[in-house]
């Protein structure tokens, strides 16, 4: 459905995308993950026909974005990470306006818009003015708007940003329903646990390059041994840090008040060795646990050292 090859985009001297390659198959929900400035929004804007590439190709359902941007637009439903509204326009009118752009007018448009509003759980909101709706409702309306021309690929940039937990849950349910209806979805989000639950595939992008992609299970099992180890101390934390710094298998040390989190690439025997070394150094350990593999820990591992803004 979406095939990106060697995509490069520069803003002046800053390289936003550096030979990015990715593929989304029909019916997939592809979670696009990366730290701020990694290139997620740039990729989505290029796919949606809002940005020109410097090099590389973007192909959506057989249509090349570079040579046929007009046809591309009929295949894409884009939802940005912000929601602009028109004053004095009701929700149903807002929907009908976008339907009319695609030549759907009159009763046909009204029926379609009501169905879509029903899908996003805004059944009774047709007569509400858009600028008076809550943020969650606006997001859902925006999602319904992006579906009005029955696009092949939905591009959703941070659809759950700024939403409260209930609204996020509603959004997740809607996206699952769209997936069940066979829609292909490219979605970016910082809410990783939800992405892991919802997406069939995940791609982690950093510095404009796709670092890893595949199904959540594939990615986690491939990198499972690198889940962080969390240690808690009652005393001697400084001595433990010295021991850890000397161990070449320890990749990243995060020190908190009375605990340390490390990324450790060794096997179980090496894990036992480092535990013994810390005890010998005089550190008083109260717990030593390898966390269960999660998308979040994988993300932290991959983007270690970079600016991290991951919300729960």
């Amino acid at each position: 459905m979406l095939l990106i090859k060697n995509l490069t985009k520069k803003y002046g001297k800053f390289t936003a995308l550096d030979n990015l390659n990715m593929e989304i198959k029909k019916g997939e929900i592809f979670g696009f993950v990366g730290p701020n400035g990694a290139g997620k929004t740039t990729t989505m804007r290029i796919v949606s026909g809002l940005l020109k590439t410097d090099s590389g190709t973007v192909n959506v359902d057989g249509v090349d974005a570079g040579t046929n941007p007009g046809e591309l637009k009929s295949k894409i439903g884009y939802m940005p990470d912000f929601f602009g509204v028109y004053d004095n326009l009701k929700a149903l009118e807002y929907m009908e306006f976008y339907a009319s752009i695609y030549g759907i007018t009159g009763n046909k448009a009204k029926q379609l818009c009501l169905e879509l509003m029903d899908l996003v759980q805004l059944t009774d909101q047709g007569d509400s003015y858009v600028d008076e709706m809550s943020r969650g409702m606006k997001q859902r309306l925006c999602l319904a708007r992006s579906l009005v021309h029955n696009p092949r690929l939905l591009v959703l940039d941070e659809p759950a940003s700024g939403l409260d937990p209930r609204a996020r849950l509603e959004m997740k349910d809607i996206l699952k329903e769209l997936h069940n209806k066979g829609k292909t979805i490219l979605i970016s989000s910082h809410i990783l646990p939800e992405l892991a639950q919802m997406c069939t595939n995940i791609g982690i992008i950093e510095k404009g390059k796709m670092v890893v992609s595949g199904t959540v299970e594939e990615i986690l099992s491939a990198r499972g041994t690198a889940s962080p180890i969390v240690m808690k101390f009652t005393a001697g934390q400084d001595r433990a840090v010295e021991v850890l710094k000397q161990n070449s298998l320890v990749q990243n040390i995060t020190i908190r008040d009375n605990s340390i989190s490390i990324l450790f690439k060794g096997n179980e025997t090496e894990e036992a060795d480092i535990l013994a070394a810390m005890i010998q150094s005089g550190a008083m350990l109260s717990s030593f646990t390898r966390e269960e593999s999660s998308l979040e820990s994988l993300f932290m591992q991959i983007t270690a050292g970079e600016e991290q803004e991951v919300s729960e």
């Binding site: 940005l51 602009g84 509204v85 004095n88 695609y102």
Partner: protein, 304 residues
């Protein structure tokens, strides 16, 4: 017939807005004041203090009302158009529009059409005030039609300038200030340029003829033709054609040099076509600027 969706949406939004009602009230209120003032001056004042009513000068009412309406058009159109694209940008709705099937030109034309419709709506709403002159006579329906044409052309011309700046600048304030600035340049700047040219020529003539000032009026040559894009001169040429003899237009041009009689005769129509041409050019540029996938007009030199 399928209307431009942006045009339909804009009309729907604007007609509901309280702003439209206020503009309508203000526009017709000011025009009515001018109309009543013209009526008073022509009848009441002349008959009371002059003892007579000069029916030959009754067309003055028409001139005063139309000049007031033309001024209102010049004043209103930038306000209607300068926010058209930048407003979408500020509301964060522009990007969504650009991802739809609509082309940048369709968006631009939809915006312009809605602004012009608003202007036509205002112009038609003022017809009862303009109709004051029909109580006395002297103005034909053709004159009215010509005046309405001028209003539409001026709205398109100034509207295109407004939309151009609205596309160029991110902020509505910058677009509005720039549009009024260009309006000032078109109205007064073109005259200032001609005065400057006239002065330079005059100084040169004085230099060559010694201290004695030459009798001959300095001729700005073809530079006079820049007045073709001055909406005020276009209006003046129309009025001279309708209620004058043309002598005032000749005498006005005489300040800067000579204009051939053919051009002078068709000044209004040449001016209208030229302004429409400039409008088409500006709209084309605006559509290009709005296209997110456009090629740059120029490429920066590669730094070595």
């Amino acid at each position: 017939m399928r209307f431009n969706p942006v045009y339909r949406k804009e009309l729907k939004i604007s007609i509901r807005s309280i702003r439209t009602a206020i503009i309508l009230l203000g526009y017709n209120g000011i025009l009515a004041l001018f109309g009543l003032f013209a009526f008073y001056v022509t009848f009441e004042y002349d008959s009371r203090y002059g003892g007579t009513v000069d029916y030959a000068s009754i067309l003055r009412i028409y001139a005063i009302i139309t000049v007031a309406e033309f001024g209102l058009v010049l004043f209103t159109v930038p306000a209607l158009t300068a926010a058209s694209i930048s407003g979408e940008r500020e509301r964060q709705t522009l990007e969504i529009l650009l991802t739809t099937k609509l082309t940048p030109l369709q968006i631009i034309l939809g915006k312009l059409a809605s602004s012009i419709s608003m202007m036509i709506f205002l112009a038609f709403s003022s017809l009862p005030i303009l109709a004051i002159v029909f109580t006395i006579g002297g103005v034909t329906l053709r004159d009215f039609a010509e005046f309405m044409l001028l209003i539409v052309v001026t709205a398109v011309f100034i509207g295109s300038v407004g939309i151009f700046f609205s596309t160029l600048f991110k902020k509505t304030t910058s677009a509005t200030v720039s549009t009024y600035g260009v309006l000032l340049v078109l109205g007064l700047g073109t005259l200032a340029v001609l005065w400057a040219i006239r002065l330079i020529i005059q100084i040169k003539m004085k230099k060559f003829s010694g201290d004695v000032m030459p009798y001959q009026t300095p001729d700005a040559g073809n530079w006079i033709l820049i007045l073709l894009i001055n909406p005020a001169v276009t209006y003046f040429s129309m009025m001279e054609d309708q209620i004058g003899t043309g002598s005032r237009l000749t005498s006005f041009f005489g300040n800067f040099g000579t204009v051939s009689m053919e051009i002078q005769k068709y000044w209004f129509f040449i001016s209208v076509f030229l302004q429409l041409g400039v409008s088409a050019f500006l709209l084309g540029i605006s559509a290009r600027l709005l296209n997110p996938l456009r090629n740059r007009f120029y490429r920066k030199k590669k730094s070595s």
